[in-house]
């Protein structure tokens, strides 16, 4: 069983961190894992995306082109990757920024992809978790994909944080649970 | 053998017994000896590492009794930089000609200087490529005829000769930038003082020192050794004035 994730957004929205948490959670659950960022001009041009593979078998290519689970933190990411999601896959998006969905070309005929809109950036502001939309979305991914448990993801957050940011651990755990519990 | 020979000074210990391979009248022998005398006087042969260039002095490591490393053309300052940084107690010097230092190795020279690498560069400027047979050097004078400037150096084509120590004297990392000449006994004595200052700077950890030695190349200049000194005085000295261009703590 292999689950391919694609996490995408603007640079600074923290998709690389969200991907790292997910990857660490897989590692802690004993899965074969990989984390592969896009790099180069695209990174500098404003969009960031990252592939994560969680698998029971050794990871072949860490570069995900057809995700089972897509996280789109902004409209360009949604537009770019939505059509790559496999049938039966999940498309999680920040509905604060991704507003052009219903009218989006092809969305209607792709009913086999489950859309999960979450106003993560709004939720972050409302809950005094500025900059925490990425972690809220990590909670959503954990819940929706079911590959790793919430408890593991909590441990993975601490593992993924650098020492100088550890004072934000409680905020991150709060954000993770907020996303996990979001209905 | 004559028994009334008076020995004024033996062979410096820092020179090996290997006979020099340089042309008759060439001043490489003088500059080698000056360096060796300084190594002896400072007692640092055991921790000295000579970096040899590509050029006539490519075999310099055979003539010095200290450890030696032969470097790629122009790269001696980079090699010296690494040796100095990994062996802070070593006394590291490069010995480079004008083509090696000021042309193909210009980047390595400038950056070693601006970093203030704790090394000594002995720069042999004779305004011509020697080993390859007398081509236009970055320091060849305007109008100078060489194998590759048969009608003389022209500004429009070849640009101007480069004044290395003046240029390097503008850099913060430089402890000593001095030009001397090897044409007269007085100048040679001054050259030795300059070389010694450069090595003393390094031993004191003051950073980058360069001593430019105006030298001769009778073979490729097409002159006798004696005429070569005259040519140096009449042509090189006016364009490359002797002097201390930078010295810290002064």
């Amino acid at each position: 069983m292999t689950t391919n994730f694609q996490l995408a957004g603007f640079g600074g929205q923290g998709v690389l961190f969200a991907a790292k948490v997910l990857t660490y959670a897989g590692l802690l659950e004993g899965l074969e894992v990989s984390w592969m960022p896009s790099y180069g001009p695209e990174m500098r041009g404003g969009t960031a995306n990252c592939s994560v593979v969680l698998s029971e078998a050794p990871v072949g290519s860490p570069i995900v082109t057809e995700p089972d689970v897509l996280l789109a933190m902004n409209q360009p990411s949604f537009d770019k990757f939505y059509h790559a999601v496999v049938p039966g896959g999940i498309c999680i998006f920040d509905s604060t920024f991704v507003t052009d969905v219903a009218e989006h070309d092809g969305v209607a005929e792709r009913a086999e992809v489950r859309l999960v809109p979450v106003p993560a950036s709004t939720l972050a502001l409302d809950n005094d978790l500025k900059g925490g939309a990425n972690v809220i979305m990590t909670g959503v991914i954990v819940r929706q994909s079911g590959v790793v448990s919430l408890e593991t993801a909590e441990k993975a957050i601490e593992k993924s944080m650098s020492a100088r940011h550890l004072h934000l651990l409680d905020d991150n755990l709060k954000a993770l649970r907020l996303g996990y519990d979001y209905e | 053998m004559a028994t009334d020979t008076k020995v004024f000074g033996g062979r410096p210990h820092a020179l090996t017994d290997a006979p020099f391979t340089y042309c008759p009248g060439c001043t490489h022998g003088i500059s080698h000896r000056l360096i060796a005398e300084v190594l002896d006087e400072l007692g640092v042969e055991g921790r000295a590492i000579a970096i040899a260039p590509v050029g006539c002095s490519v075999l310099a490591y055979e003539f010095f009794n200290c450890d030696g490393i032969q470097a790629a053309h122009g790269r001696a300052p980079a090699v010296a930089c690494a040796v100095a940084r990994t062996h802070p107690d070593a006394v590291v010097f490069t010995y480079q000609g004008d083509g090696d230092l000021a042309s193909i190795g210009a980047a390595e020279m400038v950056h070693a200087a601006t970093r203030g690498d704790n090394i000594v560069i002995i720069f042999i400027n004779n305004a011509i490529y020697g080993m390859t047979g007398g081509q236009l050097a970055p320091t060849s004078l305007l109008g100078q005829v060489t194998q590759t400037s048969p009608y003389g150096r022209e500004v429009a084509r070849d640009g101007h000769p480069i004044r290395v120590v003046e240029m390097l004297s503008t850099l913060e990392g430089v402890a000593l930038a001095q030009r001397v000449a090897l044409d007269t006994p007085a100048h040679i004595r001054e050259a030795k003082r300059a070389i010694k200052r450069a090595f003393e700077n390094q031993i004191a950890g003051k950073g980058f020192s360069i001593v430019e030695l105006l030298s001769t190349c009778p073979t490729n200049w097409g002159l006798s050794p004696a005429d070569s000194f005259t040519w140096l005085q009449e042509n090189l000295l006016p364009y490359y004035p002797l002097g201390v261009y930078k010295e810290i703590d002064k």
């Binding site: 790099y39 | 450890d67 790269r75 010296a80 690494a82």
Partner: protein, 369 residues
Amino acid sequence: MAPKTTEKATEKVLMKGNEALAEAALRAGCEAYFGYPITPQNELAAYMSKRMPKEGGAYLQAESEVAAINMVYGAAASGVRTMTSTSSPGMSLKSEGISYLAGADLPAVIVNVQRGGPGLGGIQPSQSDYWQATRAAGHGDFHPIVLAPSTVQEMADTIHIAFDLADRYRTPVIVLVDGMLGQMMEPVALPEPGGATVVEKPWAANGHQDKRPHNTITSLFLVADDLEASNRARFARYEDIKRNEQRVEEYRTEDAEIVLVAFGASARTSRTAVDLAREAGIKAGLLRPITLVPFPVDAIEARIPQAKAFLSVEMNMGQMVEDVRLVVNGRTPVEFFGRVGGIIPAPTEILAAIERIAGDDACAKGGDA
């Protein structure tokens, strides 16, 4: 010889390949690093710049790749365990220094995190420097040892091997990876610190301290007989290297009829493709060279009797395939599948190539398979 793996009780951590390699290099006793910025290897230099001063070693961002490799030459000549890293265009500039390292019999490690070329090319992963690494690392009669890890763990493990081989055989060693391996994070158990192999270097030019004759490091031999002798001595060592150091990993090759040969990143997707082929009833296997020089001639030779075909899978226009053909020497077909420009060959397209070869083979035998 089986790849040396580090099965320590150390906890696995997630690290980028570039950073895992850098940390492992420090733990392998690397005392001096010289580099120049180029994507996609910058994390390696950045890591070194942060850690090396704390280890008491030398770190320097050189003015150019040319200067960096010549700094490596200087450090190596003075007996220090030293390395540099770069990506493809930088390797072209380093080729001068690599040749001098080889000519002066100096040990050093050069990491090439490959990107596509020629020219400025791109910055995406590539294996298009295979020829450069194995055939044309610089002017003159020499070749380096070339190691090609394919996971982040193996990158960490390989660097120690690289330093040890460099010291043992007094040769530059190239670690050939690519942007994918450099940039990706995978779990890695780092080798224990302090495991550096200390090798005496009585030949080093580090100051004779009035205790021995002066040492000289040079690649210059003006007498023809001397230069020939120097080259012959070096190539005698290359024979030892061929005999002792071939490293390869085999996956499902015991009964394989179609033997894939792939290294580094493309070996990862080839492995997946082998599983897919097996599911489709095709006896495929993967032979993964870990040493590109010495090329694992013996392992390939051993599979020739059973192989209906070899398939070299690469991220270039077909480079290693020539080495496979040299070994096979016409005894069985050797095919090639490659993607370039930064594209990793997908398992499904490798499978298609396998199926095509299997189909051709069936046709050749009258379609009875």
